[in-house]
Symmetry: C2
Subunit: 261 residues, 2 copies
């Protein structure tokens, strides 16, 4: 028996999110399908982040346990060949790739052992939309003050009860205290990038933070209002939920000591 940790990249556009669902194309479903073929047994994986439909990942992880013949370091190439075969257009490339595989101790779990994550959110702030980028960013034609967004974002850094940034209808009674390690908003030409890392994120938290900071950047709310919003613990006081296609799971943090065999 082995426990394997995979690193996975995907373009979430044509997936109904990470989590396996009957009759839907999901990332977990695709990964489990090809691993089950390779390992000649039904494989179920534990993902680190249950990303929504349309959300992308540069550095998703999942772990799975199995008793199989294929060497662990051969899994990416073999799995990617199968993932590509399932792709719908010849001469193109797959929208999901396994970019790393390593054996980890049996007790290691991709989600429970995660020390935190970094997400980035991409905004294209330009008058004219670019249709070829429509599934990879939030298109905002009006000028955004990214420096105001950055300053307002500093109220979010630290340990807080982030109830206000959790999607309405999420699990009641959940512990809503999280620690945000850093939050940066930078601009490069038409592109504004929000980068946020923390020990954990509530459902839709990064997208609601982004929507709130976008409203600051548009001058629709003050920078200080972000602190008041956090204190209120009221979802209705926060901004809109930014659309999924701008969001990327950029990094999962693990403790190397816990990964050693």
């Amino acid at each position: 028996m082995k426990n394997v940790l995979l690193t996975i990249q995907y373009d979430g556009t044509n997936f109904s999110g990470w989590q396996r669902q009957p009759e839907r194309r999901t990332v977990q479903g695709e990964v489990e399908r090809v691993l089950s073929i390779l390992c000649k047994q039904e494989i179920q994986v534990n993902g680190t982040s249950r990303t929504d439909a349309g959300v992308h990942a540069f550095d998703q992880h999942c772990s799975f346990v199995g008793d199989f013949g294929i060497p662990v370091d051969r899994i990416p190439v073999a799995a990617n060949a199968l993932l590509l075969a399932g792709s719908y257009r010849p001469g193109s490339v797959s929208d999901v790739r396994i970019v790393g595989a390593r054996e980890v101790p049996m007790e290691f779990h991709a989600r429970f052992n995660s020390q935190g994550k970094r997400y980035i959110y991409k905004i294209r702030n330009a008058k004219e939309p670019d249709m070829f980028l429509r599934n990879q960013c939030y298109q905002i034609p009006k000028p955004l003050d990214h420096e105001a967004m950055h300053r307002a974002g500093q109220y979010i850094v630290g340990e807080h009860d982030f109830m206000c940034f959790m999607a309405a209808g999420s699990q009641v009674g959940e512990d809503t205290i999280r620690t945000v390690y850093d939050l940066e908003v930078t601009r490069e030409g038409d592109w504004i990038t929000l980068s946020i890392s923390g020990n954990g994120f509530l459902y839709n938290m990064v997208r609601i933070i982004t929507g709130t900071l976008v409203e600051v950047g548009l001058g629709q709310r003050t920078e200080d209002s972000v602190a008041e919003t956090i204190a209120s613990r009221d979802r209705a006081k926060a901004g809109h939920t930014a659309p999924p296609q701008g969001l990327y799971l950029a990094k999962v943090f693990y403790d190397e000591n816990e990964m050693k065999l």
Copy 2:
């Protein structure tokens, strides 16, 4: 009654090509749907190029005749609002846009009055694929000699019988003589761009030319073989058909005198 010429851009990824088909999402179908709403009558358009599924356009044109109230210069904004409403993801942008509209003489026809067209074909020549670009280029991991491709391409310039570059199974007895005005292959970093203009193109002609030149670039066929292939008039002697997602209709040429009211 007015005759209107539209300029249209689209990302062909999620369309079953240009041409209207029952039960399929096509560019022509989408454009006719929104024009029919705006003009309050059933509108049928004549497109310049019947691009295949997955093929993109920066400068497609179509013309239509109707007796309607909306001012011609208002058509793009109004049509784009309707096209965006049909888009499947909030906060994103439409994959088809009308970027120009002008009234032309009644006898003007988007296709028959075209003096020629330019296509470009984008190849990404890099070892590692970029999944976010998978629908917008031909990914080729092995090194391509783009200078050899350019030199071989010069055999194609001029008036020739291009039977060898027409998809097998195309209309028999068609006149297969066309004039290619220019063909250039250039590189910028990982990107190789083939640009070709001519008075007309046979079915799949640009994609078969691209596939043939790719084989030259890989060293699988000689530069001179391209001249022999043209002389043979034999599709089997030409290269593979490059995939649709690298192809862009870049420009349609018209005689300004024929467009004047």
